[in-house]
Symmetry: C3
Subunit: 328 residues, 3 copies
C-alpha cells in the first residue's frame, strides 16, 4: 500500500510523501524501511526518535519528534489496529468439511463454513455462514454458532450452547461445563443439576483455556462485544455486560452481574451474587467481595516490597487483628 | 409428576393441592405455571411473593410469604437438588465404542460402557460398568476408571491414574501431569522424575481445565466425595480429604494435606508442605502460607475500595515496612 | 544397580556396603528394603531415623542420624534427581506415525520422531529427531519442534511457533494464542491483529493447561532452561529470561521482561510493561505492579488469619483510606 492510500482509507492526516510504499507493520524499535509503526503508549516515546520505520501513526503532540513520515490521529492505537488488519489479513479458509471430521447427519452446516480435521459436530448443531471450526473442536448436541465466528481449535461447546456472530474462541476454551453447585447433606455433597445454558452474544472473544459454566436453571450470559482473555473462569448464571473487557486469570463466582464497558484487570476475584455497575474499572489482583454501585476505579491489589519489609508490614497489621485492639 | 408424589418420594411436607402437576424446575423470578421453584438463599426472598411458580420448596420460616403451593423442609436446597435430578435426568447414553475411537487391544472396557468419538484408550486401561468416556478423551496406559464415572470430553488421564466410581470429570481436565520438581545445579534446573501417580476416590467431581499433578514418588490423593471446581491446580503429593469442596482457580502447592469437609473459596493459594485440619473454611483470594490446626474460618482476601483510597491505605502500611519502624 | 555403582557413576561419597542392591527410589516414610531414599528438606529429617530404606542420599550433616547406608553429597536433591532418572527411565517410544494421525504432505518429520494417535501436523511443520508428539496434539502450519522434545498430548501449537530442543510440554498447553490487544473505539473494542510469534528455547518445560500468547508484532520469548508449571498465563511480548522457574497459576501481563534465574512463586500477578532484574525471587500470591531493579526476594502475599481477626485488620487499614487521614 502507498502511505497516501492508507491516509485516505482510514481518514488520517498525512505528513510526508504519499507515494511511500508500506509493506508491513513493525514496532518502533524493530522497524526497517518499508514498515509502518505506531506510538500509542508514552512509555515508548523515546523509541520514536531512533526509529527506522518509513512512517509512524501517532498523535498530534508527538508529530514534532517524529523522524519519519506520519499518519496523525487522536487515536493512534485504533488507527494502527485497522491498518494492521488491512495489511495482514488472516489466511483465507477454504469452505468444506475435512475428511477426518465427524459431522452428525442431523447437524446443519452452512456450505460456506469450514470444519477442521478431527472436529466433532453432534446432532442438531447449527453452524452459520463462513464459520471456521478449527481442528479437534467439539460442538455438543444442539450447539449453535453464528455467522463469521471462528473456533480456532480444541474449543469445546457443551450441548445447547449459543455463540453469536463474528466471535473468536481460542484453543482449549470450554463453554457450558457444569456450574459448581452442591447441596450439603450431613457432611456430604449432593450435586445440584446444572440445567441452564450459556448464551454468548456477537463480537465476543474468548481466550485460550477460559471456562464458562452453564447456568444452574437460567442461562449464563456473555453480552455483545465482551472480550475475555485467557484462563478466565466464569461461574454459573454470571452476566457480563456488553463491551466489558477482562484480563487473564480472573474468576467470577456464580450469579454475579457485571455492567457494560467495564475494564477488569488480571487475576481479579469476584465473589458471587454481586452487582457491578457500568463503566467500573478494577485493577489487577483485586478481590471484589461486595457489589459496586458507581462507575470508577477500584483496587485492592497489594504491590510487592522486599520480603523483609513485607514481613514487618504484616506484623504491624496483625496487631489490629487481636481482640480489644480495634481502637488504636 | 404430581406435587403429592414429589412430597412422598422426597419426604417433604406438602402445603397445597397434591394433584398439582409439576413438569420442570425454574427460578422464582422466571417460573411459569407448571414449574417448581425453591428458596434457599435469603437474597432471593423478595422474589418469593411475586413468583408465578406452581409450587416452591422452602423452609418453614418462609411458608407464610409463599403465594403458591409449597414443599416444606429444613434443607430446601438439598430437596430441590434431588427433585431437579429426578425431573431432569441426564440423557441416556448408549453403550458401545464409537467407530472413530481407538481402543487398544489390551484395554478392558466393560460392555455397558460408552466410548465416544475420537477417544483414545491405551493399553491396559480398565473401564468399569456404565462408564461414559466422552469424545476426544485420552486414557493413558494402565489408567483405571470405576463404575458409573463420566469423563465428559477432552479429559486427559496420564498413564496409571486411578479414578473411582461415580466420578464426573469435565472438559479439559488433566490428571497425572508431572509435578513441578527441579533440583538446582549451578544456575540451571535438573528435572526430578515424577514417579508417583494420582488416586481419585469415589463420587469426586473435577471441573473444566483443572489440573492434578502426579506424585513425585508417592501418589497424589483425592479422597471420596471431593468436589473441585474449574481451573484448580493441585500439586504433586497433595492429599485432599474426603468431602472437601474447593472453588475455582485455587492452587495447592506440593505435599500440602487438606483435611476432610473443608470448604475452600475461589483463587485461594496454598503454600507447600502444609497440614490443614478438618472442617476448615478459607474465604476467597486468601493465601494459606502456614498450617492450620483448628477448624474454623480463615481469611486474608483484601476487599476492593476506590483506587485512590487504596493508594492511601498502601502508603500507610508501607511506612511500617521501613526499618526501625517496627515499633509503632 | 549396586550402591557402589551409583556412588561411582554420580560421584558421591559412599558410606556402607557397595554390593547393596538398589531397585527403586522411595520416600523415607514409605521405603522398603531395596529402595533408595533421600533427605533434602529439613521438614522430613525426623523420618530419617525410622526409615527402612536400604540407602539414603543426604548431606554430610545428616549422616550421623542415618540408620542405613548412605550416599553423601552437598546437594542431595540433585543427586537424587539423577539417580531416579537413571533407575526409572521413561518408557521407550517407537518411532513412526500412528495410522490415525494426520500429517500434511508438506510437513517434515524426522524418521526417528514418533507421532501419536489423532495428532494433526499441518503444512510446513518441522519436527526434529527423536521428538515425541503425543496423541491429539495440534501443530499449526509452519510450527517447528527441536530434537528430543516431547509434547505429551493435547498440546496446541499455533502456526509458526518455534520450540527448541529437549523441551517438555504437558497436556493442554497452548502456545501462540492471540495476545489480548484491543483498541477502544467509542465504547467498543477493535481487535489489534496479533502478528508476532512465540520462540521457546531449549530445555524448557511447560506445564499442563499453561497458555503463552503470541506477540503483537515482535515475538514472545521463553529463553533456554525456563520451567513453567501448570496453568500459567504468559501475555504477548513477554520475555522470560533463561533458567527462570515459575510456579503454577502465575500470570504475566504483556510486554513484561523477566530476568534470568528468577524464582517466581505460585499465583503471582505481574502487571504489563515491567522489567524484572536477574535473580529475583517473588513469593506466592504477590502482585508485581512495578519494575524490580535489584536481585532479592519480594513479597506482598497476605497470610490468612481467623476471619474475625482479618475483619478487624481490614477495618483498621480502611481508616487510612479515608481522606484527610493520610497523616497518622
Amino acid at each position: 500500500m502507498l502511505l497516501g492510500e492508507l491516509a485516505v482509507r482510514f481518514g488520517l492526516e498525512l505528513r510526508g510523501e504519499p507515494e511511500l510504499r508500506i509493506t508491513r507493520v513493525a514496532t518502533l524499535a524493530q522497524a526497517e524501511p518499508g514498515a509502518l509503526s505506531f506510538l500509542a503508549n508514552p512509555r515508548y516515546r523515546r523509541a520514536l526518535a531512533a526509529t527506522r520505520a518509513s512512517a509512524v501513526v501517532l498523535a498530534p503532540a508527538d508529530l514534532e519528534s517524529c523522524p519519519a513520515a506520519a499518519l496523525v490521529t487522536d487515536n493512534p492505537y485504533l488507527a494502527y489496529a485497522r491498518i494492521a488488519a488491512h495489511l495482514h489479513p488472516p489466511p483465507a479458509v477454504e469452505p468444506g468439511v475435512h475428511p477426518s471430521a465427524i459431522v452428525s447427519p442431523g447437524a446443519r452446516v452452512a456450505p460456506s463454513a469450514a470444519i477442521g480435521a478431527l472436529a466433532l459436530i453432534e446432532e442438531e448443531v447449527e453452524i452459520g455462514e463462513r464459520v471456521v471450526v478449527g481442528p479437534a473442536c467439539i460442538l455438543g448436541r444442539g450447539a449453535r454458532v453464528g455467522a463469521d465466528s471462528r473456533l480456532v481449535g480444541r474449543v469445546h461447546l457443551y450441548p445447547g450452547i449459543e455463540i453469536g456472530a463474528r466471535c473468536l474462541l481460542h484453543a482449549g476454551a470450554v463453554v457450558g461445563s457444569d456450574g459448581f453447585g452442591f447441596a450439603p447433606d450431613r457432611g456430604r455433597w449432593v450435586k445440584v443439576p446444572q440445567l441452564g445454558s450459556v448464551r454468548v452474544g456477537d463480537d465476543v472473544e474468548i481466550g485460550a483455556n477460559t471456562t464458562i459454566d452453564r447456568g444452574a436453571i437460567d442461562d449464563t450470559v456473555i453480552e455483545d462485544g465482551v472480550k475475555l482473555d485467557n484462563q478466565i473462569q466464569v461461574g454459573h448464571n454470571v452476566v457480563i455486560g456488553a463491551h466489558t473487557a477482562i484480563a487473564g486469570c480472573t474468576g467470577i463466582s456464580g450469579s454475579t452481574v457485571l455492567g457494560q464497558r467495564c475494564m477488569i484487570g488480571g487475576m481479579v476475584g469476584f465473589a458471587g451474587h454481586l452487582t457491578i455497575a457500568d463503566d467500573v474499572v478494577v485493577t489487577g489482583c483485586s478481590l471484589v467481595s461486595h457489589s459496586i454501585h458507581a462507575a470508577g476505579s477500584y483496587s485492592s491489589g497489594m504491590p510487592t516490597v522486599p520480603t523483609r519489609a513485607w514481613r514487618r508490614m504484616v506484623a504491624h497489621l496483625r496487631k489490629f487483628g487481636e481482640k480489644g485492639k480495634e481502637q488504636h
